[in-house]
Amino acid sequence: MANMNMIQALTSAMDIMLGKDPSVILMGEDIGYFGGVFRATEGLQRKYGEHRVIDTPIAEGGIVAAAIGMSINGLRPVAEIQFADYIYPGFDQIVSELARIRYRTAGDFFAPLTIRTPCGGGIRGGQTHSQSPEGIFTHVSGIKVVMPSNPFDAKGLLITCIEDDDPVVFFEPKRLYNGPFDGDPTKPAVPWNAHPKGQVDEGYYTVPLGKADIVRTGSEVTIITYGTMVFVAAAAAAAMNLDAEIIDLRSLVPLDVDTICTSVRKTGRCVVAHEATRFSGFGAELLSIVQEECFWDLEAPIQRVTGWDTPYPHAFEWEYFPGQARVSMALKTVMEPA
């Protein structure tokens, strides 16, 4: 076991897979010699060579398309899109091609491609370095969508994704790269080495897709969340002395419906929290599932905590971000007696 932040854990996953499987290659903007703008591929080109850790032109559409071509010719590319905000030039290739290659060829062709991309706000990145577009991708049949919230899961999930024969978009909440974050920007940053999930096995291990993590068991309310909001929600519930059960989904597609419903049936109350915008967000899917599956167990309407339905504004980062205050309001509402 070693102390790792989320970046180091991701690097370790890629390092292990490059070493283990000669068909794994990495590609992306600034990822080779430089090691990536967030340094996730640091040292890997030196170790595995320029033919396995490939710098690309600044063309997300080209990166995704070329990676698809490689993947149908026997490679397992891991493509980095520098920021999730810049994934859209590759959108057509992801939606119209990547997601459907297996389906339209009756399984004769498939594209084992992993697209890694940093997402989320909280770094004063303004509207073009802060987005959480996971819901745009979960809406497309045929691609898996993953978002870890800590170093241990990040590494195990990334290895699983690379080995998976289906395409995955792997979102990395960049505000969590260096430490858990409870939503209060005025507090000093907390590093991962003080957190149990910052203890990471140095070798090969996997974390399965479609299996949520119950971060905290509780009896009064279920909070379904993922990414940055895991820690914000936990802090808000703790501040209210609520015995909340906190579920970190980790993988949105496939989704662990069992864990969600078992918990809601137990607590009878549910709050869904994500950083992305609200309207047609992934939270809406979660609410529908809980409503369909657990309606007769619910004691209050399900609440949603999200970013506002605006672009991410530079000056109002913390007014936009769904911090503890917004989570608390939802928790208060959901806890009101009927």
Binding site: E29, D30, Y33, F34, V37, E50, H51, I54, D55, T56, P57, I58, A59, E60, G61, G62, D85, Y86, Y88, P89, R124, G125, G126, Q127, T128, H129, R278, F279, W308, D309, T310, P311, P313, H314, A315, F316, E319, Y320, A325, R326, M329
Partner: protein, 411 residues
């Protein structure tokens, strides 16, 4: 044995610890490239895309057919704008370091691109700048205070706090909003120019892109639409050799010049010494006249060097030779224009020093004024209600509700 295919990786001339090497930069002697008529056929101007238009020679003389013969007063304005751009950049970089603004991007070494091109165009031409074109804002007369208030996201910010620093715009001055997403504005400029042609107006559009961003599909859409419709547009590729850590070879600059993409798409392409104020002015004037007289688009590649880090989030010592900039063979645009002006008797070291002092004082006093409208951390503060405006023309009900919730949350 058949010869196997092999993945080629573009050569990067000098990484940290290696000797700077610019032997790959093809440089024509000043004055050597002929200047065709502005209505010449694309096939007859093919040489312009491969050679390098230069006017200022090593003796600080202006030579050859591209010499624009500007008045001394115009040269002085050009020098002033370039110096102001540089001094503004230095000061704002320091303010970022001091925590007053969240982010900054300098244009060190590339000042001639924006200033000479901005001056060669007319105020009614529509500009679609990139994030390293602050010189265009200065040429168009945007007060420094306005630019600074944008950097500060304060109560006078033209973007109402919604954009990262340096993403300025000015509707009144025909400067379109800068996008954080690379290359997106390149084809939009073509559309603007198509509209001008549809409406029968005489204005043209000009837009700027980094050589690294020419890799995006949007670049190619721009060239195709510009060529098909012969749109009155000037498409500028600022080849400053580096795209963060990525060398220009990775954008396709290794095999052929970026300017050569112009003739490839059926339009004129010109490669110019981007640090030669006079040459940049002159080729822009040529392209503008060509566009205004129905000759269609021109692609201009401005060969220059990114003298500073990519942005305040970047450290180039990690990926390029430390003294690279000092070996750049095309020199510094300010020093070169200044030397020429001194040589022709229109400038002096004393006047230069006085101008630097004047501009520094201007930047300092503008900053003092700008911060009275607030900084990121100190009041007065922008009203956070503004966050919900301008998503749509009329605020829809869901946003009204969210605005009310936000107020409650913050009370």
């Amino acid at each position: 044995m058949p010869i196997k295919s092999r993945l080629h990786l573009p050569h990067v001339p000098a990484r940290p610890g290696e000797k700077p090497d610019f032997s790959y930069v093809q440089i024509s002697p000043a004055g050597a490239v002929p200047r065709p008529q502005v209505n010449a056929l694309v096939k007859d101007v093919a040489h312009l895309a491969l050679e390098m238009v230069r006017v200022l020679d090593d003796n600080a003389d202006a030579v050859g057919a591209w010499h624009p013969h500007l008045d001394a007063s115009e040269l002085q304005v050009g020098l002033r704008h370039m110096l102001l751009t540089r001094i503004y950049d230095e000061r704002m970089q320091r303010m970022q370091r001091g925590g007053k603004i969240s982010f900054y991007i300098r244009s060190l070494g590339e000042e001639a691109v924006s200033v000479a091109q901005g001056m060669a165009l007319s105020p009614s031409d529509m500009l679609f700048p990139g994030y390293r074109n602050q010189g265009l804002q200065i040429v168009r007369g945007i007060p420094l205070v306005n630019l600074m208030c944008q950097l500060l996201s304060n109560t006078r910010d033209m973007c109402k706090g919604r954009q990262l620093p340096v993403m300025y715009h000015s509707k009144a001055n025909n400067l379109f909003s800068i996008s954080g997403n690379l290359a997106t504005q390149f084809p939009q400029a073509v559309g603007w120019a198509m509209a001008a042609a549809i409406k029968g107006e005489g204005n043209l559009a000009a837009t700027w892109i980094g050589e690294g961003s020419t890799a995006e599909a949007d670049f190619h859409h721009a060239l195709l639409f510009a060529s098909v419709y012969q749109a009155p547009v000037i498409l500028n590729v600022v080849n400053n050799q580096w795209a963060i850590s990525t060398f220009q070879g990775y954008a396709g600059g290794e095999q052929r010049s970026f300017a050569a993409r112009g003739p490839g798409y059926g339009m004129a392409g010109i490669r110019v010494d981007g640090n030669d104020f006079l040459a940049v002015y002159s080729v822009t004037q040529w392209a503008a006249e060509r566009a205004r007289t129905g000759g269609g688009p021109t692609l201009i590649e401005l060969v220059t060097y990114r003298g500073a880090a990519h942005s305040t989030s970047d450290d180039p010592a990690r990926y390029r030779a430390k003294d690279d900039a000092e070996h750049w063979p095309l020199g510094d645009p300010i020093i070169r224009l200044k030397a020429h002006m001194i040589k022709i008797g229109e400038w002096s070291e004393e006047r230069h020093e006085a101008l630097v002092a004047e501009l520094e004082a201007q930047v300092v006093s503008s900053w003092k004024e700008a911060v009275t409208f607030g900084t990121l951390n100190e009041g007065p503060k922008l009203d956070s209600d503004l966050m919900f405006e301008d998503v749509f023309k009329e605020m829809p009900e869901n946003l009204q509700r969210q605005q009310a919730l936000m107020r409650k949350e913050r009370s």
